[in-house]
């Protein structure tokens, strides 16, 4: 009656994580490194190279990357048409982008999680209302809806977050609903019901744990997409107010100078592309790792 000898999953957990990280393909290391770099840059960068949207410096207009400015500093990514350092703008934009994306995904993810759990677990009319609402909303292109909302609410970071969260919750709700639906009729959930467990206990201890891995995958992908959406809104002038930097508004500034001063639009554009691609790679890896066959 010896139980099968298997490794206990709990001891040496950090060791296992390190070993797993080392076994990942090179693109994963690239993506992970890139995301970490951008996060650090977004958090610390604006402290080192402060960006002031109101400050202008006419003598330093449209300087190419690497030029020494009138105050002696070096503009590694050049300057824009009012003499502001592009590097500082990109770093500040990084912070805006990160903040908006994270808060949006957390808000939309929480709402989606709650809605998805209600719809998937209880079914019936709750599912009917939530799913139909989601279907109706998905019939609109999400950016169009965001533009409408942002336009109505006016430019501010909070309003951008609201506009984007409203367009995103459906995606999370659908993912969670699917997982909840798949697990709610499993035998071990029935066994909790027979035990007399309340709906709340079953939701938290039985349904929720199965919904989190797919939710995490969806959230990762959505962070990248939300960054693009935020940049799009700011590009159109519906995003964060001009007093705050955003990649979208910096790209918009550079639009008229693409031929003469390409670096204005290229720097934030490249940053956006890199970080979104990196997050996408991470999302794919997470998706592979949370394969349902290995999950239970």
């Amino acid at each position: 009656m010896m139980p099968p000898k298997l490794d206990d999953p709990l001891p040496g957990r950090t060791g296992a994580i390190v070993r797993r990280l080392a076994g990942l393909p090179p693109r994963a290391h690239f993506a992970l490194g890139m995301v970490l770099l951008f996060v650090v840059a977004g958090v610390l960068g604006p402290l080192l190279v402060p960006f002031d949207a109101a400050a202008t410096s006419p003598p330093d207009r449209l300087l190419p990357p690497g030029t020494r400015l009138s105050d002696g500093a070096v503009a590694w990514l050049g300057t824009n048409q009012v003499g502001q350092d592009i590097l500082a703008a990109v770093l500040a934009g990084m912070r805006t982008s990160l903040t908006v994306a994270l808060v949006t995904v957390v808000v939309a993810g929480s709402v989606g999680l709650l809605m998805g759990l209600l719809a998937g677990y209880f079914g019936g009319w709750a599912d009917g209302i939530i799913s139909r609402l989601g279907d109706i909303q998905l019939a609109f292109p999400s950016l169009l809806l965001a533009i409408l909302l942002a336009g109505v609410l006016g430019p501010s970071m909070l309003n951008v977050i609201i506009a984007l969260a409203v367009t995103r919750w459906v995606i999370f709700a659908r993912v969670v609903r699917g997982s909840a639906l798949a697990v709610r009729d499993r035998e071990f959930v029935d066994s909790a019901r027979v035990m007399g467990a309340s709906h709340g206990r079953i939701l938290i201890h039985y349904i929720l744990p199965s919904c989190l891995p797919p939710l995490l995958v969806a959230a990762t992908v959505q962070i990248g997409l939300t960054m693009v959406a935020e940049a799009s809104l700011s590009f159109l002038g519906l995003g964060v107010p001009p007093s705050q930097a955003s990649w979208g508004s910096t790209i918009a500034q550079g639009r008229d100078y693409l031929a003469s001063a390409w670096w204005i639009a290229a720097a934030p554009g490249a940053a956006l592309a890199l970080v979104v691609v990196s997050i996408g790679i991470l999302g794919d890896l997470l998706r592979d790792a949370s394969d349902p066959m290995t999950e239970l």
């Binding site: 009656m1 139980p3 298997l6 467990a197």
Partner: protein
Amino acid sequence: MSTPALAESRTRDGDGPPLLELVDLVTAYRLRGGLGRSGAEVRAVAGVSLDVRAGETVGLVGESGCGKSTIARTIVGLVRPSSGQVLFEGRDLAALPARELRGLRQDIQLVFQDPYASLNPRMTIAALIKEAWRIHPGIVPRDRWDQEVRSLLDRVGLRPEHADRYPHQFSGGQRQRISIARALAVRPRLIICDEAVSALDVSVRAQILNLLDELRRDLGVAYLFISHDLGVVHHICDRVAVMYLGKIVEIGSKESVYLRPSHPYTQALLSAAPSLDDWRDGGRREIVLSGDVPSPLNPPSGCRFRTRCRLAQDRCRDEEPTLLDRGTGHPVACHFPETDPS
């Protein structure tokens, strides 16, 4: 180690309400219909009356799809009955207020067939067992939980030091022991075993059956033992009910039903059971049933078994036989029961 006489007195004593009583229980599932119309109704359980007394083991046998599991799920409240009553100690479960019902839930526990699917894979054994006490506070004081987990594991034949392992680290038989320990944690008076040993291999099956028997002797729990395996039911049960297509066709003490099966279906089941057990005398004829079980969507008129019965006559089509003792020693639902099988 109780004497047969004692067991007899325990199962037969008292005219008070039985522990569990099903009164004309009907459980129907509604099939998904097309646009704008509701689907057909399948009566998986079509009027079953059955009682289980304290400390008794009642076997419920029948082919797959005859409604055995639906009965189990109805009793524990996973499915709502369409009509009829489930009485526990004379109290109708459907009529009880929610809070009292939750209290009663701890008296009836269910052990599922598949020990691989019925334990939450993300909880340790200790957590699975302690959950019972979280849901029903007051059974075991919190400071004695660890101690009680160890003694329960010991009770069901597992090593107490394995309490912190996860279900996937155990074999099928061990997991079924965990399920039993979890069921026992709430001190139930009735355990429903829904094909609880069917997924286990033969040697492990015997161990689990012996464990169940031991628990009954020591703790006085009653079992409703659902199985398609006549050998297993013969091994453990005091009384046996045979189901066909949502109805009980024959019910009686183990000895009576196994030695003198009166319903043609019971006879066919018994003759088909591959077994070295003692209830079969060498000379019994083989009865092979022809055809399939009819769809419960559209059951035959009259006797539900008539389409496959070798004794069927016109009367079986027109009139549904009731479950009555027809000189057979125990109730049987057949117009032409064999009273003296040759």
